[in-house]
Symmetry: C2
């Protein structure tokens, strides 16, 4: 769409708007068919979920944030205002990039609908990035607008400030009084363009977002997600996470991670309630689980660990479904959560696959696996989700499937509708990761005789010592199995003789003590000698840079 | 695909097969990427659900029929055998039509995968049709093969027998002993072609089935369903019916009706268990609800009514979700079922929309509506399902939306991914029902100020009896074909059990005589039993108010 056709469209839209001030409700949320569009085809586009839910679940609570909450009608209205604001207040045109540097606050959710509705492409930024990293991503994506949360402003460099127009949003949970710039702008924005007037996509394979991810190859890469991909991942999550209108979802997962695993769209599709959360305060999390009846949450192993072992942890009456991703989870945490009526599904995925495209057994399966050994398998084995086509394990040299013997290690490769379009402005990396017609994840797995794959390691977590591969996670799990240990991280330490050796960083459980010797002795008992840590360091916290 | 390329492909496949007798499990269920296929696109195709579930839910019970039952691995194996049988034993080529005249037996479910896997198009036949009607559909569709259940063989005319090759299948529930022709053929079929060798579609918009339906215009019309449509409807049903691996579905709905509302694919997608049922024996149904822990079923109001009021009805400990479609349900039945822990969702749809594309409020909402008045509204008001784009109510003259005042009546119109491709070999009817870019259902509704639609009536020329559509014109034409009859009008008469039944008003030709019995006997010979008039009244004139 050229600027002149957009401008023409706007004049027409404004005329339409003035002509019919009292748009009936069902007309408000309609996107008219395009001339020549066949009746049996609508582009797969997650924005449609909001338009439907604004009708079906109009007065149902869509969002809770602290003591603020609003319904679906309001969510749709706010998203529409933001789309209008971007177009008329920030000169956003179709194809422009809009960066977002926010924690899990309502504005982020609103942007998930408003940015693509304005025809623009979202660029969610990892809130943990440092100033220069943010500048790299903003400039690489060519974003012209940045929606930034006040607390994160110090991370925005002078270079970024020159390159973009900014919208400032506060993290307030108190009914928005006094209103921040974002709220003021929203309130003052006239919805001159209705949903139907906005440049919504007509091509389901078009770009909806660029999600930057740090691979093992240096600078972050811009993963390109499509409308079809996000739609298919969202319905996949609806089915695999058993989402219903009764779902109350807690945002422990950062919304910038793979578009929040597409939950911002999946939850709206089913008319669920989303509870915003922008700080991992576990006392507060347990309060929310109890008081709001949280039914679902997602999080990394460290989140699961903290929830499992928190002093306020009490088994709620209702079942909570939790998804854990990022790294395999220790069996004892899976069992500990089960005791708390929290059923855990272990997932595997990458930004390149819209988040979790492989998952382990469903709720209920764990009861068949009472033993540690089985829990370990359940935690690490998986299949493609229903809307992803295939997960394969290919030999890195020959690109042939590995022998399904549970032994031969290969690289996890993925294909299907929830696989990215490629890396933004990086044809070389795109070509490299898409060789032989599949996406090469960089992560390692074996395939068992029954077809299940078992993730062996994130490739960057592999320590190579004297020609032997060591899974850092295997060593971590061994050490965490000790009662005295709260958390553990294994890294590859340098070693003159062996190249690399595992170095352990250990947080001791409060009120307990343990020695380095005891930990090494425990490892020697449970692991091959070369896998045992060469060095143990006791620390108070472990940096989460993954 | 031409025959010669298919033949070539087969030779290659057989060579492949012989070369690798021990295909590893994960390879068995793979469909290889096509040359040039991008990694991020897989055609939406419900066959993929079976290939995935054969891996993920391998030894989980897929099908129960009487005292037979088998797992997902077996279901996939049987479907693969049937596909091979169709190709090698019955000379089925891509694009050929395969008709199915079966009740809800495993062979029907197997055909839902095997026929499209063989590249052919399914033509499910209504088991209640009379001989001449079956002949019309078989000939109109040009089917070359008929999968027919023994009990229904008397309905197959000499004309049909000449036109098709038949596969006979028995309705046995006793481990298949002695095996019927179908079972013998399956057992003797070599799976020379694996899933990857079969001519699976590469075009998601291709034709998967032709479902004949009686509209208001006489002869049945062949509704064309696409792979994409069936996939989208199946995931829509997964979400809207809250299907999970724990689901135990009872087949009270005929599988020939709109492809069983796409449940044959939805249930396999989530790894649920399907309980076959080919006779509506309510004592047996209650036994199954109790003994097998049925969690879901679908059915016409007459089915709901019988289940509600049966002498064995006892509130089970678990909640059952029921979908009711075909006609609005009396509030007292909705409440009665609620008392039995059966939560009812009222649905609206047509064969042209893959089954239920509009539904009422979700489980749980009924508790807000204790009064008859509210129940009545809940039973008749609805919204589009999440995978259908729009439901509109348009004025029949102007094709503009009706005023949303709950008063102005218009025709229900639908668009989106679960709308049919058109009528098979009937461009004129296709054009007529698709005017103004939407599908015109023929049914009437109003729109309320809050956007909800309320169905006012099925189009006046359609009589709905026990969930079956009856074209009054088809019955009229059948009766008028009798020499003794001068004119005939069919109207919907009230019926306590079936909701409606056809009542005939007949003017006898001058100088001739005929009895009501003779007219009914003539109808029974030419029409499905449910279409035959319940009452014949002889009159001197018929008012022309239409």
């Amino acid at each position: 769409m050229t600027s002149s056709t957009v401008a023409k469209g706007r004049v027409q839209s404004i005329a339409n708007h003035l002509a019919s001030k009292d748009t009936p409700d069902h007309e408000k949320y309609r996107v008219h068919r395009k001339p020549g569009q066949v009746p049996y085809h609508t582009p797969l586009d997650p924005i449609h979920f909001l338009l439907r839910s604004a009708m079906v679940y109009r007065n149902k609570t869509a969002v809770i944030h602290g003591d603020r909450s609003f319904d679906y009608e309001t969510l749709a209205d706010r998203a529409l205002r933001l789309a209008n604001l971007l177009i008329h207040g920030f000169d956003v045109h179709p194809g422009d990039r809009v960066a977002i540097l926010c924690q899990n606050i309502p504005a982020f959710l609103e942007a998930k609908y408003a940015v693509p509705a304005a025809g623009a492409v979202m660029v969610p930024l990892n809130t943990r990035l440092a100033g220069p990293e943010i500048e790299y991503v903003v400039k690489h994506s060519g974003a012209s607008v940045l929606l930034v949360q006040d607390d994160l402003l110090p991370r925005v460099s002078a270079g970024v400030k020159e390159a973009v127009k900014m919208i400032h949003v506060a993290d307030y949970q108190n009914h928005g009084d006094p209103p921040c710039q974002y709220e003021q702008l929203l309130q003052n924005t006239k919805t001159v363009l209705g949903w139907n007037d906005l440049p919504l996509t007509t091509d389901e394979n078009a770009l909806i977002s660029i999600n930057y991810t740090s691979g093992s190859t240096g600078k972050p890469k811009g993963v390109m997600a499509s409308f079809r991909g996000c739609y298919m991942m969202a319905v996949g999550m609806c089915v695999q996470a058993h989402l219903t209108p009764e779902t109350v979802y807690l945002w422990t997962l950062p919304m910038f991670h793979c578009n929040g695993w597409n939950f911002p769209w999946a939850l709206v599709a089913v008319g669920a309630t989303q509870v915003m959360l922008n700080k991992l305060d576990y006392t507060y999390i347990w309060k929310l689980i109890k008081e709001l009846g949280i039914t679902h949450y997602c999080g990394a192993p460290t989140v699961q660990n903290e929830i499992c072992h928190h002093k306020d942890a009490v088994r709620p009456n209702h079942t909570v479904l939790a998804f854990s991703g990022g790294a395999p989870l220790a069996p004892k945490i899976i069992r500990g959560l089960g005791d708390l009526n929290i059923y855990l599904t272990q997932v595997y995925g990458l930004t390149e696959t819209y988040g979790p495209c492989v998952l382990t057994y469903d709720k209920g399966s764990l009861t068949q696996y009472p033993e540690d050994q089985h829990l370990r398998l359940v935690a690490r084995q998986g299949y493609n989700i229903i809307t992803q086509d295939e997960v394969r394990v290919l030999d890195q040299q020959t690109a042939k499937d590995v022998v399904a013997d549970g032994m031969q290690i290969g690289e996890i490769c993925l294909v299907g509708n929830v696989t990215m379009l490629g890396y933004y402005n990086d044809p070389e990396e795109t070509k490299r990761c898409f060789r032989e017609g599949v996406f090469w994840s960089g992560d390692l797995a074996v395939r068992h005789p029954d077809g299940v794959i078992e993730i062996v390691d994130r490739s960057k977590d592999v320590i190579v010592s004297g020609g032997e591969n060591i899974s850092s996670i295997e060593v971590e799990n061994t050490i965490v199995a000790m009662e005295e240990v709260f958390e553990c991280a294994i890294i590859a330490g340098p070693d003159e003789k062996w190249g690399e050796r595992p170095f352990a960083y250990v947080i001791v459980r409060e009120g307990r003590t343990i020695t380095a010797e005891a930990i090494i002795a425990h490892c020697r008992k449970n692991l091959a000698g070369y896998k045992c840590p060469a060095k143990v360091t006791f620390v108070d916290s472990i940096p989460k840079t993954r």
